[in-house]
Symmetry: C2
Subunit: 594 residues, 2 copies
């Protein structure tokens, strides 16, 4: 059994057949030279690296974990070497601007590559993944000098980056953060404080680490409006740009945690560390949004990754493991029993994983197009794409990680008791996935962002471009048997938004009471749109006799499965999200337990 096989056929269907990536790239001046031939060659190389280098050290990385010793962190066997290969092949620079050594490829292609890296080895992918956050922040808010000194080294992959937000007493509530930045005489700042949960905060893979740190200036107002952003390198930089003496930042310990054990989660102590202001004073949280949105899309990919990996592992097992006979007649007469894939409930678990992995891939590829349009810079279309992406991002992040976790658990369940045993890797997939619903804003926070901050604050306007697109699709494809159901769900989505909005005007707690159910409802409808779209495209290919009939037939069947077994979850969610806040709010804090 291979550790991981990159699903290139499905990725290419999603890009070219479902979402017309070639035409999309050609229409954007920055990316017009990216054709399917180039993209496919890159993806095939990436697939090889993921399958042959990253996947084989995924399970060993989990077993070994990271080691902390007197401030130094050692990553598991093979991690450093894989990173060197990654840098030498030029992967870190793929989607960054040629101004700083990047290759200028579309961000959408980067998302596709990241899915493969993350599925092969999520823990490993965290190290270069965090760098992208730092790069995007410096690219958008840094001075030319900061770009010259830090960005080029990050783009080349010689250095890695981190984002230092969380402190022991504040995660979601960054307004409470205490890390201080005192001005030095030379224009730099002395940063002091403790940050926790810093992924890739310390490791042995690169010669320097560039921390992006949230801290308060001495005269800063309280709360979120008094937070500034600083660049704090692990090693100070000499005049010639080379690495000099050690800065006042060190890793105090690493966390023992449920999963992604090969990713170092660090406590970082800043003790008068030399830092450089990035962006305007007291506007750090605004600057941080650039990173946060990237990070949220990156984490959304984690849902797809664990659904895909769980699916691959459990599908292999379900085809091999012989146990019991099919209730509708023996399917493997020469064997002592039938492979468990004959059993309807095993198929239900496999198809659920498939529906979420492939459906999530479609949604992410759709978002990738939006990112391309935004980064291409043409004002009007960028603004529209930005609004649509703002709407879809919390859905991607929370919905895809929730169903990714469900999928990873179905993956375990297909193995029976063997799923609980480490050797098969199915249980690691669950443990690694669990963090995705927590970091970069929990599911509850995403749901408040979606319903409260975006949908209701815009009085529903922000969702309209998307729901209109679904509506137009339904009108144009009325012949597809799935479309009537989709149109109904799309209509109900709007009605529920109204209903929840009305309730929220009476009582603000109604927002929080409805929000997670509303977000999940939204996710099921969004994925319903992409599955219906996939079914129409696949059916057209079959009707035209384009070949590859088995692939297109399976696509139509998977869509049928989604509509029969998954989309109806909206029914219960519609009821619970409108059941009112009182069943949640009535109980006294003291009365929850006796």
């Amino acid at each position: 059994m291979a550790d991981y096989k990159a699903p290139l056929r499905d990725i290419q269907f999603t890009m070219y057949e479902l979402l017309d990536y070639e035409q999309h790239w050609q229409a954007l001046p920055k990316f017009e030279e990216t054709g399917a031939d180039i993209a496919n060659a890159i993806m095939e190389e990436n697939a090889k690296f993921c399958e042959n280098v990253l996947a084989p050290i995924n399970q060993s990385g989990d077993a070994e974990g990271c080691q902390w010793n007197d401030g130094e962190v050692t990553t598991p066997k093979g991690f450093k070497e894989a990173y060197q290969q990654f840098v030498e092949a030029g992967w870190p620079s793929m989607t960054h601007s040629p101004d700083h050594g990047g290759q200028g490829l579309p961000p959408s292609l980067g998302l596709v590559l990241n899915e493969m890296v993350g599925t092969a080895n999520w823990s490993w992918g965290m190290y270069p993944g965090l760098s992208h956050g730092a790069m995007n922040t410096i690219e958008e808010h840094g001075t030319d000098e900061q770009k010259e000194v830090y960005l080029t080294k990050l783009v080349s992959g010689e250095w890695t980056g981190t984002m230092c937000l969380t402190e022991p007493h504040c995660g979601t509530d960054l307004g409470m953060l205490r890390t201080k930045a005192e001005p030095n005489a030379d224009g730099s700042y002395a940063i002091s404080g403790t940050k926790i949960f810093i992924s890739a905060g310390e490791h042995d893979m690169a010669e320097n680490i560039v921390h992006i740190v949230l801290a308060r200036l001495p005269d800063a107002p309280a709360g979120t409006k008094g937070i500034s952003l600083f660049i704090v390198p692990k090693f100070n930089i000499a005049e010639d740009g080379s690495v000099a003496d050690r800065n006042g930042v060190s890793c105090g310990s690493i966390e023992h945690k449920m999963g992604i054990k090969a990713s170092a989660t660090c406590v970082m102590n800043f003790d008068n560390a030399k830092g450089y202001l990035i962006g305007p004073p007291n506007r750090g949280l605004n600057c941080m949004f650039t990173f946060m949105n990237t990070a949220r899309l990156g984490t959304a990919l984690q849902g797809v990754a664990h659904a895909e990996l769980g699916f691959q592992k459990s599908l292999d097992y379900a085809r091999d493991r012989l146990q019991m006979r099919s209730l509708s007649g023996v399917k493997n007469p020469d064997g002592p029993a039938d492979p468990i894939i004959v059993h309807p409930d095993v198929r239900r678990m496999l198809l659920t994983q498939k529906a979420f992995a492939e459906g999530g891939r479609m949604l992410m590829a759709y978002c990738g197009k939006l990112v391309d349009i935004i980064s291409n810079g043409e004002e009007e279309s960028a603004k529209e794409a930005d609004a649509k992406l703002a709407f879809l991002t919390p859905i991607c992040k929370a919905f895809l990680t929730e169903v990714g976790f469900e999928s990873a658990n179905h993956g375990v369940q297909c193995f029976g008791g063997h799923g609980f045993i480490s050797e098969w890797g199915a249980e690691q997939n669950v443990r690694d996935c669990r963090i995705s619903m927590l970091y970069e804003g929990t599911t509850g926070i995403q749901a408040l962002d979606l319903l409260g901050r975006k949908v209701l604050m815009s009085q529903g306007e922000i969702m309209k471009p998307f729901t209109k697109e679904v509506h137009k699709f339904c009108q144009a494809n009325a012949g597809n048997p799935l479309v009537a159901t989709l149109a109904e769900a799309n209509k109900q989505w709007g009605e529920l938004t109204m209903k929840v909005g009305m309730a929220a005007m009476e009582n603000p707690d109604e927002v929080g009471a409805a929000s997670v159910d509303y977000l999940m409802f939204s996710g099921y409808v969004v994925l319903g749109y992409f599955w219906a779209l996939a079914a129409t495209k696949a059916q057209a290919a079959l009707d035209e006799g384009r070949g590859d009939a088995a692939f297109y037939t399976a696509k139509v069947q998977a869509a049928n499965f989604y509509f029969a077994r998954i989309l109806p979850r909206t029914e219960s969610l519609a009821t619970t999200m409108t059941s009112g806040a009182s069943s949640l709010m009535d109980m006294d804090v003291e009365s929850f337990a006796f």
Copy 2:
């Protein structure tokens, strides 16, 4: 923060106020001397042992795990000492027959004690837990001599027991098992073969281990009708009943697994081990059903245990952790933020855990009464109770572990990122819980047992005593605002059974396609009955002004929550379970992935 606090108030409400345990015991000759005073004294002692001895070694046991060294297994620090205390206090003998040194207390009380032990430390509880399976099997099927030699030592706790069913190539499909039993000249048998996943198969806590082993006699027919049951002690027994030389059974290794790491999961090698036939030849699987049903109820408790533990941990955290302000106005003006329990979605997650922990407790206590009636021996009532328990057991096992796992995950989610960190224990609770949906028959197997083997084979007759009880309750309590909803769900349950049954007559795959959704639907309705019952009892106490108003008010509120936010899940399940098998069965095995 305490590691665990036994929820005695809620347990007592469930036993005495909800289910009239005192009258129930008084009506059964075997248990008529068990009153609330005795039972409460025992439960309070047990609570102390669980809180003070077992809970403090739960997290350290996970971190340390079991160690295998050349066939010997060492349990984590404190485990052996805790077991000695347990034995000295007489806990193993509590519910067993006085004929073999037991104390003859009702099995229902044993279930209550087991919930506390399991919540405090599930891994530890596996060792004495498995012994009960061995005891029940020998008590029911053993000869007088076997009872004298083995049962008395198991009842005293001096020895422990195991159940050896699974082999590498067969778990669910025991018909394929290969372990052989060759007759010896002295009337014993030479047992040879490999068993896997043997909980407590080897350890350092007791002086001998009594394995109950499934194996085949030389002339046995193929399949499940050729399996016999044997007693195979780790050490042979001398004439005087003392431990003699080592038998030919050894532990080849222990599994590395996701959770319950302090419970040794052993590969057991039988190499001409001396065994003794128990029960009639070739009827081993039938004899095993005694154990399996006990084990399934025991595993159902695991769902309650992890829901309760997750609830306790996350409730403490949600009351302490300050983060953000309530949307409906500041609740903690003197602090820098409000405790997160003010947020509606945090309450949703807490109340979901509470609803499943307390609801599961009610269901298990109801089943405990049935076990009492069965073991009391009065023929007609025992037969009725047996049929009802047969119907409820797969629901208890699968539904309570599924919602227990959901609860454990809500527990983690309430902690935000800290939930992923080992130190809080929330993530261990998820890992420990994950096995409960797998062992003793997966959720899928329970669902086939419920729908295929029980409900449809009896043409629905087996469910009627329970649904009639619900119906009568609804008629008698029409004034309760929850009852109309319950009556509707109960009616729908019957209708869906008919519908699924009709479809199954056309195509047997419809059973497997509907089974898990059907089981979950059943579970939600069953728990709906208990929550409605709890609400009526609590409301009556409030109306009568019996005092303790905060407790009863919270019970009514929790019931309202269950009906508003949990029971509506039946809506989607009703749709998906009747959507037909074709969306699952159409896809070719080769077309699941490309």
